[in-house]
C-alpha cells in the first residue's frame, strides 16, 4: 500500500532486492543501522517530520530500489 501524502509512514525494505549497498545508512543514519553483514535494520516508525524526510532520501538513494515508504 502506497502512502498518502502527509501521513505517518513506515520505512520498509524488500530483502530480496537489497544487496547490502548501505547507501541508506549514510542518508538516514538515525533510521538505519547495518547488521554484521552490512544489510539494513530499519527503524520501522511510524515516521513523521524530519525522520520521514530522511527516510524519503534513503528511498530515492537506494540503487537497488529496495526501500519504500508505506502508509502507517
Amino acid at each position: 500500500m502506497r502512502r498518502r501524502r502527509g501521513g505517518a509512514a513506515h520505512l520498509v525494505v524488500d530483502p530480496t532486492r537489497c544487496a547490502g549497498v548501505s547507501v541508506c545508512a549514510h542518508l538516514a543514519p538515525d533510521l538505519v543501522r547495518l547488521d554484521s553483514w552490512g544489510y539494513p535494520v530499519l527503524e520501522r516508525g511510524p515516521l513523521t517530520g524530519a525522520d520521514q524526510r530522511d527516510a524519503a532520501r534513503a528511498v530515492s538513494g537506494c540503487p537497488r530500489r529496495a526501500l519504500s515508504l508505506e502508509e502507517a
Binding site: V12, D14, P15, T16, A19, D35, S36, W37, V41
Partner: protein, 430 residues
Amino acid sequence: MTAQAALAPDLPQPTGMVGLLDAPVTVGPDGPVLAGPAADLATHHARYGSAGGLGGGALLAALETAGLTGRGGAHFPVAAKWRAALGAGGGGLVVANLAEGEPLSAKDAVLAQRQPHLVLDGLALAAATTGAVAAVAWLHAGAVGTRAALEAALAQRHAAGVRELPVHLVEGPDAYLSGESSAVVAALAGLPALPQFRRTPAAVAGVGGRPTVVHNAESLARVALLARTGAAGYRSTTLLTLAGPRARTVVEVDAGQPFAALAGLLGGWPVAVLLGGYGGRWVAADRLALLAMDHAALRTAGLSLGAGVVAPLPPGACGLAETAAVAQYLAASGAGQCGPCLFGLPAIARALRALADGTASAGEVDRLRTHLGEVAGRGACHHPDASVSLVSSALTLFGDDVAAHRAGRPCGGASRAPGLLPASARAGAA
C-alpha cells in the same frame, strides 16, 4: 521403500466419526513416501458419504466455529483466507499444496495417498466457495506415490462425472523452500519457485494479481470433513509425523490427546523432542508429557505444532550436534535471495558446529547469540526465523551441554552421525 501399517500399542484409536486414517502408517526415514493403497471413489463415498453438505456462507461459518487453521505449519485461519479472496472479488485460483517441504514430515503424502478424494473434495469446496476459476495441485518432483494417487483419483472423478473445476497437477523442484506458499504462487506465475516479498497476501492478489488461496493437503481434507458434518459434528483430530532415525510413523490423534500417549510409538521416553520440524523448537519431553497434541492447547502453552512433526532426540545423541546438522542443512536450503538469511544462517550454523565440536571460542559463542538476534524477521519468508527459533531453543534446552561444550568437553554423542537429517542430506552435513 515399503509401506506398512503399524500397530499402536499405547495410542487410543480415535473414536466416533470416521477420521483420516484407520491406523498409524509407517514409512521409511527418507525418500519418496509410499503409503500404500488409496481409497477409490466408491470406497471414499462409502466411508465419508458423498460430497456436498455445507457450502458458501454456511461452510465459512462452520470453518470459523470449528476454528480450522492451516496445517502446513503457520496455522492461519482457513476461513480468513477465503474471506480475503472473496473480498478481492473471487475469480482466482485454489491450490492444494502437496509439496511438504519439511523433510521430516510425511503426513500430507500419506493423507493424499490414502484419501486423495478427501483432499480433492476440499479443493473443490475451496474453489466453489471462493469463486475460483482454476484449481491446481502443487507437487514436488519425485513425489511418485502422491502423483500416482492423485492422477488415479482425478481419473475416477472424471469418469464418475463429478462436477468440479479440472485440477492441474503442477510439479516444482524438490527443494526445502518450494512448498513455501509464496514460492508456490511465484512458480504458478511463471517465476522461479522461490519465496517472494509480499506486501499483499496472495489470497487477495497472488498469481497474475488474482486471489490465490493456497492450502496444505490436511487443511483441505478437514474442509471436506467439516462440510459433511458441520462444526457441531466435526471430530477435531491432528495428523502427526513421529520421526525416528529409522522410520516415520504418521498417526492421527484426537484433540486433547496428551503427548504421553505417544510414548509407545516413540519407542521409549525421550529426553527432548523437536516439535514442529526443522523450523520448530526443542522441548523437554517432561514438559510436553501432559500437554494435548493439538494446535490450540500447545499455543496456550507458548508452543506450536508447526507442520505436525514430533521428532525425539535419539538416545545417546547430542542435542547441540543434532541441531548443528539441521542448522547446516537449513543454511544450505535457503533461496539465496535475502542477505540476512544468505550470510546469517551459515554463520549461525558454523558457530553452532564449533560449539558442538567443543572448539568454539567464547567470542564465537557470543557472536552466535548476536547473530540469532540479528536474523529473525528479516527475510522475505520465515525461513530465517525458523532457523533462529530452532537454534535458540537448543541453546536454552541443552544449556548444560552448552556450558560443557564451551569448556572444551563435548559429550560422546557429538561425534555420532546426526540422526535427524534425511539420508540425502547427511553426506554433506557430517
